[in-house]
């Protein structure tokens, strides 16, 4: 049976809801913009240079990798751009160019491509890069040292470093309102609490992010910090300080809910976020590092495959020996 008109065949379904990966990633970039713009307005051209160079480097590394492997470059999906942007947001405005080039190499090649590319990374790429850089180049990520030439009209010491070195007494000078409105020293894109929360809520409502992970992470940070604070308030800062200082908010809305390295079932998502939050405060309060975000989330990333085994029983499934 032949026919004049050539029809295209395919398997069902013939409808699609129209979502695509590039749209999702571009929306993540849009959601990150308020916090990024605040950072650029505070630190000026150097901050813009860090962000732009970081995004460019991330995309170049991905192009180089696909050229070496002779595979089509997936650059249009925006995932390398998002990785570069997030890594830039985690850096101080004074980061030298070679740290950024190295960091994006770690994020794109070591963090993602050697595992098979997008969707296969077991760890969060920007956080992996951040953790390796923080361990390797302590001075560059010591925000007190890095930002000593800036005077933006508020206390130019890194709140978490003050807390670690001098205890809760030293952080009285930071009001919660200042912390929330970005009037604190820190990385380019992680200090403006309001902007991060607005961006995060946007992603949640549009369904581009798993709200369960974000909210349980924040709950984990809050509850753990509260328990520490209740046990000894002269030694441990209050929960709101931990929510608004350091990398907490950018982690909650942009890093913990990263698709590939976090669980997809409901209960595992809650456990994952909660434990990452608990770990963050544990590192901050009794660990060696100033901020526990990169290490706590990377640790939970490792537990992700195990956690995602907790799943509802499929309807109709026959459980033997039950």
């Amino acid at each position: 049976m032949s026919s004049q008109t050539k029809l295209v065949v395919a398997h069902a379904p013939y409808w699609h809801d129209g979502s695509r990966l590039s749209t999702k990633n571009y929306h993540i970039i849009i959601a990150a913009l308020p916090a990024v713009l605040m950072g650029i307005s505070q630190y000026g051209a150097p901050a813009l240079a860090v962000i732009a160079f970081s995004m460019a480097c991330a995309m170049i590394w991905e192009l180089v990798w696909s050229a070496i492997l002779k595979k089509p470059a997936p650059i249009g999906d925006g995932s390398a751009a998002v990785t570069g942007l997030l890594l830039g947001m985690l850096m101080p405005a004074t980061a030298p160019w070679w740290v950024i080039a190295l960091g994006t190499f770690i994020a794109i090649i070591v963090g993602k491509q050697i595992f098979g590319g997008i969707g296969f990374n077991p760890l969060n790429p920007p956080l992996l890069a951040l953790a390796m850089l923080v361990i390797s180049f302590k001075g560059i990520f010591d925000f007190n040292e890095a930002l000593r030439n800036y005077d933006l009209g508020f206390a130019m010491t890194y709140p978490l470093a003050d807390l670690k070195a001098f205890g809760p007494g030293a952080i009285a000078k930071f009001s919660l309102g200042d912390l929330f409105m970005g009037r604190q020293a820190g990385a380019i894109g992680s200090t403006f609490g309001l902007g991060l929360i607005v961006g995060g809520l946007y992603l949640m409502l549009r369904g581009y992010m798993r709200w369960e992970i974000s909210l349980s992470f924040l709950a984990g940070v809050f509850v753990t910090a509260l328990l520490f604070n209740l046990s000894d308030s002269s030694q441990y800062a209050g929960p709101m300080f931990h929510l608004f200082a350091g990398y907490t908010l950018i982690a909650a809305f942009f890093l913990v809910p990263e698709d590939s390295s976090s669980p997809a079932n409901f209960i595992p998502m809650l456990i994952f976020g909660l434990l990452a939050g608990v770990m963050t405060v544990l590192v901050r309060n009794i660990g060696a590092y100033v901020d526990g975000v990169p290490f706590s989330i990377l640790l939970m990333n490792l537990a992700n495959p195990l956690l995602d085994k907790i799943r509802p029983k499929a309807i109709g499934k026959v459980v033997e020996n039950a």
């Binding site: 029809l7 065949v9 395919a10 069902a12 699609h16 129209g18 590939s260 997809a264 499929a314």
Partner: protein
């Protein structure tokens, strides 16, 4: 095509078409093609020859003892016999009949409501009801569920029948009771058809208007309170599903003393407008589209069935079959395209899966062709084949196709194992 809503926090709701269009009667075609199933090693039909005269309603089978048959929908002569291969490699013999113009009805049909009559004449009735489970001595069937709601989006065939042919459904229900001895007959309808459904004499259950709630597995779970276990067929729960159109055709057959040879189908044009037509079984798809003023161009898609579970076909020369509930035509620009991107683990499929399958893990195993692991560890057998995972996939992976391929490969393995034993 229904797109993602602006607020993505809520699950998308795909709603069935609840407003059946009126039916336009198509004139009897000059030529029909009937697809007769042949066994895997069977040759061409021995009892049929080119040039044989056939009457409307005549039963045509490959050999006198063969269980497979078709019912001629016109009176005329057989003009061609050709082999034909279906989508899952089933072999058919395509019987083309040139119609003579006048309908001359065959008189083999006996007006007795027995299982024998049903097996001999109704398996090729519109809606293709299956009576095999009733004749299987290993199976007991206590319940018949009449699906008064179409299985796929856009289609309104069964709803049209419930709305307008209640009397035929009623006599069909009575005939089914005599034929099968089933002691419970349930009809599932959307809320707006409950009143019409009560006149049929069957027990009425209201099915929700959201896809995939009218699929047999969902009806079993939600309305009859019985879960079909993984790997089992619906018949294993002592229940058989039939479409309302099939039941109406059975009712009409006994009141008119001849089998039904026409099929109602929903035709959806490129603009998304739906209309219902009644055509002879075996009518060329191209003729149906022409009667609806739908023109095809290269790279269009012609889907037999609905947009989520149908089968795209390669030729407009193929015929309308008893199970063809709709023809959906899609322009190239509107048709969903798949990619070879990997799963990014976003979890949309897990959220939408009606039977809670971990689709993100399942698709990884299926991509790696680990079909047995996919079945044993990640619930491949639980899938009810609704297609929603592919519909929401942000990577546009052909998940549904992988699932069907996996099931098909597993069935081949089982056949091979059974042959070795």
């Amino acid at each position: 095509m229904i797109k993602r809503s602006f607020l993505g926090l809520v699950k998308p709701r795909l709603q069935y078409n609840l407003v059946p269009d009126s039916v336009q009667e198509l004139p009897a075609p000059k030529k029909v093609t009937l697809l007769l199933k042949v066994s895997q090693n069977g040759g061409p039909p021995s009892t049929l020859n080119v040039g044989d005269a056939v009457k409307t309603g005549q039963r045509l089978s490959a050999s006198p003892e063969s269980a497979e048959y078709v019912i001629s929908s016109v009176t005329g002569t057989i003009s061609a016999l050709a082999p034909h291969v279906g989508p899952l490699a089933q072999k058919y013999s395509a019987i083309t009949i040139d119609a003579g113009g006048q309908d001359n009805w065959d008189d083999q049909f006996k007006n007795e409501p027995t299982l024998d009559t049903a097996m001999k004449f109704f398996e090729y009735a519109p809606g293709s009801p299956s009576f095999k489970a009733f004749s299987d001595p290993e199976k007991t069937i206590r319940t018949i569920v009449i699906n008064g709601m179409d299985q796929d989006l856009l289609l309104t065939v069964n709803q049209y029948v419930v709305q307008n042919e209640g009397a035929a459904v009623k006599s069909g229900v009575q005939a089914l009771k005599k034929i099968t001895g089933a002691n419970r007959i349930v009809i599932t309808v959307p809320e707006n058809l409950v009143q019409q459904a009560t006149t049929t004499g069957a027990e009425v259950k209201t099915v929700s208007d959201t896809y995939p709630d009218s699929l047999p597995h969902m009806v079993m779970k939600d309305l009859l309170g019985q879960v079909v276990l993984a790997g089992d067929a619906v018949e294993d729960t002592e229940t058989v599903f039939m479409s309302a159109e099939a039941v109406a055709a059975i009712g009409t057959a006994f009141s008119a003393s001849r089998p039904s040879v026409t099929k109602v189908l929903t035709v959806v044009g490129k603009d998304g407008a739906t209309r219902n037509v009644r055509a002879r079984i075996g009518t060329r798809i191209g003729d149906v589209l022409q009667a609806c003023d739908i023109s095809l161009s290269d790279r269009d898609r012609v889907i037999l069935g609905g947009p989520l579970r149908g089968t795209a076909t390669y030729s407009e020369d193929l015929p309308v079959e008893p199970g063809t509930d709709g023809i959906v035509v899609q322009d190239e620009a509107d048709s969903a395209q798949v990619t070879d991107y990997p799963c990014v683990n976003c979890g949309e499929c897990i959220r939408i899966c009606p039977v809670k399958i971990p689709v993100n893990m399942l698709v990884r195993f299926l991509e790696a062709r680990l079909y047995e692991d996919a079945r044993n560890m990640y619930d491949l057998d639980c899938c009810i084949e609704c297609g929603l995972c592919s519909y929401v996939c942000v990577s546009r992976i052909p998940i549904f196709q992988y699932i069907m391929l996996g099931k098909y490969e597993l069935s081949l393995m089982e056949t091979a194992e059974a042959a070795n034993e």
